[in-house]
Each structure stands twice: as C-alpha cells, then as structure tokens.
C-alpha cells in the first residue's frame, strides 16, 4: 500500500485527541459517555489510551515510506 501523508497526520491528530480524552477520564470525575454518578472512569481511560496507541501505530503504517531496494 502506498503511504499517505495527510492520512498519517490525521491519525496522529486523532491519537492526540484520544490521549486527551484518556487524561480527562483519568483525572476528572464525570459521567460523560458513562453511566452512573460522576466518577473517575478508569476503564474508559484505559480504552482511550489503547485507541491513542493504535492510532499512532496506524499512522506509522499510513506514512509514506522510502522504496525498498
């Protein structure tokens, strides 16, 4: 597959967004997108952390690469 710089950049931006959401869930008591009373939703935080890492991996796949010899 040929690389795509815009796609790679988009995935990095998405990774940053997911990382920010993860930090939000780690640090702020909330019930945003979660049931129950406002609390620290560490399960949500873990999932968004994993999504951030996977977006970075996907960005590495999407970036243009030098042709192999």
């Amino acid at each position: 597959m040929r690389g795509s710089a815009p796609l790679a950049i988009g995935l990095v931006v998405l990774a940053v967004v997911f990382a920010a959401v993860a930090v939000f869930y780690y640090t702020v008591k909330t019930n945003f997108l979660a049931s129950g009373h406002p609390a620290l939703h560490w399960k949500h935080a873990i999932v968004f952390t994993v999504l951030a890492v996977l977006c970075l991996v996907a960005a590495n796949f999407a970036r243009p690469k030098a042709a192999r010899a």
């Binding site: 979660a34 049931s35 999932v47 970036r63």
Partner: protein, 291 residues
C-alpha cells in the same frame, strides 16, 4: 448472595458453553431457573463472578494457542515499529487488533445499560432462538456457496475435511476483520453467542469451518481477558466469593480447554447446525417454562 455450589455449577456450565456457539451468558441466565436453581441474576456478585469464569476461559484459550500468541504478539510489535506487514503472523496480529477494537469500544459504552438485561431469562431465551437463526443462516449461505462452487450438478451436502476451496484466517481482509469485530459486539446481549456470531461472520466471509473457529477463539481472547481483568477489583469486597470464584475460574478453564479441542476437531467435518437447533430448543423451553 451466590452459594459456592451455584458458582461451581455456573463454572462448569460456562466452561462447556463459552466456546461452543451457544452463548454461555444465555445459559447462565436461562438454565438455572429452568432447572429450579433460584438466585437473582441481578445479584451484584453475578457479573463479577461470570467475569472471573471468563478469565478462566481466556486462560484456557491462551494455553491452547500459546505458540500462536507468542508469534502474534512478536509480529504485532515488529509490524507496528516497521510500519509494514511482512509475515502471516504479523498480518494475523493486525486482523485481531482491528477485529477487537469495535467490540471493545461498543462493549465499553453499552455494557452498563445492557447489564439490566441479564436479569431477564425470557429475553435471553428469545435471543437464544435468534442465535440459532444466525447459525442456521450462516450455514445456509455456506451451503449455497458450496453448491455454486461445485462443478458437479449434484448439491454438496457435507464439507470436506480441510475445505480446500475456502480460506485460512490469514487470508481475511482488514475490512472483513472489522465486520467480524462489529458482529462480536452482538454477544453483549445474553443469548447471542460471541463464538457463534463470529464463526457465522467468518463462514460468511469465506473461511473454512475450523479456521472460522480459530479466528473466533483468537479474537475472543483479548476481549474476554480484558473484560475479566477490568472486573477483578469488584470481587475484592467479598472475599469468600472471590476465593470460590478463583476455583471456579480454574474449573471453567479446564472444561473450556477440553470443549475447544473437541470443537476444533468436530468442525473439520461438522457444521454448526446441531448447535443452532440446540439453541432454538433451549430458547423455546425457556419461553415456555420460565415465568
């Protein structure tokens, strides 16, 4: 509170039904009232105990595919760093990642709202019948495809061992893996089988029967393991239940391992139809006898 005997009964039931395409959660909700065991599925300990049993099952799957998992994890790290897939196990690792993400995300947001359904055996009975319909539909599509592929005019009614016309897991496209992963989220409903729905999706996508089962088991492992690990802290407040749960998890794991070995051997020549009829019969019995 759940008794030790009941937890061990649920463990054996869980180990037997988790990897068969018959919904372990559906069985845990429907079978106890059907055989006269009285407990509340809405008991706060029910879901954490079930999660521990899932953990035992995940351990069995990890042991069953230990060599595959070692290569898959190493393959994922290599491919992620390189930014390119070069081997079959690297490709399989990526298929499992993209197949797991939809179920993980959907499960995270829908698990709590759906927990209220766990207390409704009649609803679970209805979903068991739906599960049977899904399995039958997948086999119907497969038979139709086999007839289409067969050069001979006579219909092919049994698939051959190895199914040379159909693909191995590594032949799946990323898009199909996402499709199978989304289907996996359907197993959040009690009565819909995770392995059943993913095997059905795998068959529809053109996998051989035993490969569909292999992909289903590999795909289930991280989700079951993660869900189990995330629920473990909720057992801490009730030490006796936690202790029994650990023993029950071990029992579930042993039974699940034997069940998986049996199913993989059976699916070399067998089909999903018997499981479909069984689900439909159990669901019908639940609707008739549970009030």
């Amino acid at each position: 509170m759940l008794s030790a005997g009941l937890i061990l009964f649920l463990a054996a039931l869980q180990g037997l039904t988790e990897l068969f395409p018959v919904s372990s959660l559906g069985h845990a909700v429907v079978v106890p009232p059907l055989v006269g065991l009285s407990f509340r599925e809405s008991d706060p300990a029910f879901v954490p105990v079930l999660t521990m049993l899932h953990l035992g099952t995940a351990a069995a799957l990890l042991f069953l595919y230990r060599r595959d998992w070692a290569r898959i994890i190493a393959g994922f790290v290599r491919a992620a760093v390189r930014g390119r897939v070069e081997t079959g196990h690297e490709r399989l690792a990526m298929l499992l990642v993209v197949g797991s993400v939809p179920a993980g995300v959907i499960g995270l947001f829908l698990q709590d709202p759906l927990k209220s359904l766990f207390g409704n055996p009649r609803l679970a009975s209805g979903f068991l019948i739906v599960n049977g319909g899904i399995l039958l539909a997948a086999e119907w599509f497969r038979r139709r495809d086999e007839r289409r592929r067969a050069a001979a005019p006579a219909a092919v009614l049994g698939h051959e061992e190895g199914d040379p016309d159909y693909a191995a897991v590594e032949g799946l496209s990323l898009r199909t893996a996402i499709f199978v992963g989304i289907f996996q989220a359907g197993a959040l409903l009690p009565g819909i089988s995770r392995s059943g729905i993913t095997m059905a999706a795998g068959l529809t996508a053109g996998l051989r029967h035993e490969e569909a089962a292999r992909f289903s088991f590999l795909l289930a492992t991280p989700i079951i393991l993660a869900a189990g690990l995330l629920e473990v802290p909720s057992l801490g407040s009730d030490a006796p239940t936690a202790l029994v749960s650990v023993a029950a998890a071990a029992l579930a794991g042993v039974v699940a391992y034997a069940s998986a070995r049996f199913l993989l051997r059976y699916l070399r020549i067998g089909r999903l139809d018997p499981f479909a009829y069984y689900c439909a019969a159990l669901g019908a019995a639940g609707l008739v006898f549970i009030h």
